[in-house]
Symmetry: C2
Subunit: 116 residues, 2 copies
DNA sequence: CGTTAAGGTTACTATTTATTAACCAGGTTT
DNA sequence: AAACCTGGTTAATAAATAGTAACCTTAACG
């Protein structure tokens, strides 16, 4: 009966206000430098970008490559191991897409951005 | 390139300190009443239990069945539609299990509960 | 008539997360 | 020499999330 009991460890590494969009960027664009990510993600600030990248790096999802130059250059990319997350995201995406439809069916398709 | 762009909508319904454990309970035990959930989940309080259940109910993952009796009886269960989440949890669980191993490999298996 | 029962709600506090803005390094351009 | 570049860090603040404790309902029990 403890079938799904470890799904939280997958959940944990995706949780964080900016992690999904960071991953999406890196998946779509391959290696990106810090400033490119910052430009590509409106509303994010350096601190959050650093912090979320560090957490993804700690989990070996993202690889950080430092070029010792002045001014510095640092590139982030999905790590070899991180690629394995693709299948998970795919399944979540498929279900998520269907879920949006399901919710529209239940509550109507008016673009309500709030719940309550 | 917008392959996984909706995976956040799946993520959203799983986010919340108690949602995973509530789902796990309901998956394992079928219908459970409010007080049974409260007993089964150490540390949770009425407010949080109600709130998380309401969010799951709003997303049609959990079904709420009220028995009009005194004292009241309310049973919660995974809804018909909510069953479809099972496949997602399964994939996340499998990856999560492997990820725990991967992290142990990277950082050693000493039971470090903190990062940093 | 006060207490108990189940399943909540409410107002208030505490803890966690996220945001803002200022600062740093060290070489290059003006 | 002042200002700019990138990729950060730090301290302080705001916003969001979670936790505590007291209260509510309606009927039955002692």
């Amino acid at each position: 009966m403890k079938q799904y009991c470890k799904f939280e460890s997958a959940l944990d590494i995706l949780i964080g206000k900016w992690k999904p969009v960071i991953l999406l960027q890196l998946i779509a664009n391959g290696a990106m430098r810090f400033s490119e990510l910052q430009k590509a993600i409106p509303g994010i600030n350096k601190k959050m970008l650093t912090q979320q990248l560090r957490e993804l790096e700690y989990n070996d999802i993202v690889h950080r490559e430092v070029y010792h130059q002045i001014p510095p250059k640092v590139e982030y990319s999905i790590s070899e191991y991180g690629q394995s997350l693709g299948a998970v995201l795919q399944v979540m995406n498929d279900w998520g897409t269907a879920h949006i439809d399901h919710m529209n069916m239940l509550y109507g398709a008016e673009d309500r951005s709030e719940q309550e």
